[in-house]
């Protein structure tokens, strides 16, 4: 792992997220930014994928179960070369292929349409079962929100994943602690998240999801696990990297205005410069 390179890429992904959401005048920056490091690690370090052949049969799969953070996924896909970065500015525009939530029919690199919370993990389980059934050795990754795991379907899917010993499946929970109505602890607490997945027979790893060393160690550990799926509970900062968005529930699903966009980009430019001096 080239940590500095990943940090720089993640910073570019964050700029893309803010730019796309600003251009769309709508969207979900908070949870896209919190997961930007995980998106970056998956697409630039972890997964066996080829942007020139987005549908190659033996590719690793990624399902964005928390589909509202599509700006995060689209940004990393664009950085990886699945489609032009300029297109990010068409996010959510009428006629654009970059739909508000991931659309596998029209967006290169999107393995599953998602956005209705709780559903993506089930599709990921289906993909992992398919690999086991057909003897394929690809791995399946799915990213969930910590609010999303309030959906009962998440636990239906988790029960089946462990029952079928899907050690080719990694469930990542972006634990940024905030959902639309406020802190997850105040709305309907899903804690303890790790113990819940443990009780469902997952191998559980707790990490700081904005720290590449810990992300790297977790995904490497997941590959050694046999006979059970892995859940990585990634503690993150919602809005990470943009000063006024950090830890603010209000930035879950709101676009920055022109002035706010300027400040956000200045924050990220500064972060980028700092990385260049490292």
């Amino acid at each position: 792992m080239d940590k500095l390179k990943l940090m720089k890429t993640a910073n570019e992904v964050r700029k893309d997220i803010v730019t796309a959401v600003h251009s769309a005048k709508a969207g979900h920056p908070g949870g896209s930014l919190s997961a930007a490091d995980i998106f970056t690690y998956l697409y630039f370090e972890e997964m066996n994928i080829d942007p020139k052949d987005p549908k190659k049969a033996d590719r690793d799969r990624f399902v964005l179960s928390k589909g509202h953070t599509a700006p995060g996924l689209y940004s990393v896909l664009a950085e990886k070369g699945y489609f032009p970065k300029e297109d990010l500015k068409t996010l959510r525009h009428t006629g654009s292929y970059l739909q508000g939530h991931p659309d596998m029919k029209h967006i290169p690199g999107v393995d599953m349409s998602s956005g209705s919370l709780g559903q993506g993990i089930s599709a990921a389980v289906g993909m992992a079962i398919a690999a086991k059934m057909t003897g394929a050795d690809y791995r399946v990754y799915t990213l969930l929100g910590d609010g999303e795991i309030q959906e009962g379907q998440v636990w239906e899917a988790s029960m089946l994943a462990a029952h079928r010993k899907l050690d080719n499946l990694v469930v990542i929970v972006d634990n940024n602690n905030l959902q639309i109505d406020g802190a997850i602890t105040e709305v309907n607490s899903p804690y303890p998240i790790d113990k819940k997945f443990e009780a469902f027979n997952f191998h559980v790893i707790n990490i700081d999801g904005n720290d590449f060393d810990q992300i790297d160690a977790a995904f490497k550990e997941a590959k050694t696990v046999k006979g059970q799926p892995t859940a990585i509970i990634a503690k993150t900062v919602k809005g990470k990297g943009v000063s006024f968005m950090e830890n603010q529930a209000g930035w879950h699903g709101k676009a920055p205005n022109d002035e706010e966009y300027k400040i956000a980009m200045e924050d990220l430019e500064k972060a980028g410069e700092a990385l260049c001096q490292m």
Partner: protein
């Protein structure tokens, strides 16, 4: 018709899956703890390695089926109509319909002929729900022959298909050498010039009997079996309406949103015609032996005959 062979279309489903599984390695079957009732157990016995019991979790099952389909496998996800189309509606809509994935939904125990289990398990709304999903094919076979053919046609079709089967054994009416199932094509079972009966699923055989009784009264009824409710054979429906002037729809489903509604939608636009809709009249079912319920809710031969006779006056 006591000497006529009777088979429940859910039996046909299980048998057809096993045949399909032998021919095609990419067929996988999912169930939600109802394999003995949906008859997917027949497939499970033959191909245990391609059978996935998801337990009592239909919403997840639909998502798992979607995931399987993204890899090129052809999943048949099975449960009772109530849970396949009802409970898991949004999963079917968003995880299967929206990405237009190649998932086949095998929904058994449709309608009031579920019988003793009563209203909670008698789904009279599934056709209405499923046909609103863009790109979803909706098939409601009338007998064993048609049900088996429908399962195979669903496999050949690329895209999501909803297959509706019943619990009760129904007469085999299509057992003839030249029988051919064509997706989206209605079948004229009886010619007639005074009115057209358009039926689907379980009551089709009763409609044929009712037509004979009407003939004895001098009313010459054309009978059309619509196995594919979506896409509807509009050409056949419109031509029959124009030809006979009156249309009766018969289904074991709510009169709201099902075959009757589909026929009325087409006729209102293309050939305004007086239509009598026979089905479940905006009410829940109840417990009782299936045959008694069919009579009570007006879907037996005599009830159909009486209603049509009154309508044709």
């Amino acid at each position: 018709m006591s000497d006529v062979k009777k088979i429940a279309t859910r039996e046909s489903y299980g048998n057809a899956l096993a045949e399909l599984g032998a021919e095609h390695k990419d067929v996988v079957v999912l169930d939600a703890d109802l394999a003995a009732a949906t008859k997917t157990g027949v497939f499970k016995k033959a191909f245990p390695e391609r059978f996935i019991d998801c337990g009592i979790a239909e919403s997840n099952m639909m998502g798992v089926a979607a995931g399987l389909a993204t890899t090129g496998l052809v999943p048949f996800a099975s449960s009772f109509a109530m849970f396949a189309a009802g409970r898991a509606f949004e999963q079917v809509r968003n995880s299967i319909g929206y990405p237009h994935l190649n998932v086949k939904i095998g929904a058994t125990h449709a309608g009031i002929s579920v019988g003793e289990d009563g209203a909670t398990h008698q789904c009279n709304e599934d056709i209405a729900l499923m046909r609103t999903i863009p790109g979803m094919v909706v098939i409601s076979p009338a007998d064993d022959v048609e049900a088996k053919a429908a399962v195979k046609a669903a496999y050949e079709h690329q895209g999501p298909v909803y297959l509706r089967f019943g619990r009760l054994a129904v007469p085999v009416i299509n057992d003839r050498p030249d029988y051919k199932f064509e997706l989206g094509k209605g079948v004229v079972l009886r010619e007639g010039k005074d009115l057209t009966i358009i039926a689907t699923g379980l009551p089709v055989s009763s409609c044929l009997e009712a037509a004979e009784k009407l003939a004895a009264d001098g009313i010459d009824a054309k009978v059309i079996n619509i196995h594919t409710i979506k896409p509807l054979d509009e050409e056949l429906v419109v031509a029959a309406a124009k030809e006979t002037g009156k249309v009766v729809t018969v289904e074991e489903h709510s009169v709201i949103g099902g075959l009757g509604s589909a026929v009325c939608e087409v006729l209102a636009e293309k050939a305004p015609t007086k239509v009598l809709k026979i089905g479940i009249n905006d009410t829940f079912g109840e417990s009782g032996p299936a045959v008694e319920l069919i009579k009570k809710y007006g879907l037996d031969t005599d009830s159909i005959y009486e209603k049509i006779k009154e309508f044709s006056k």
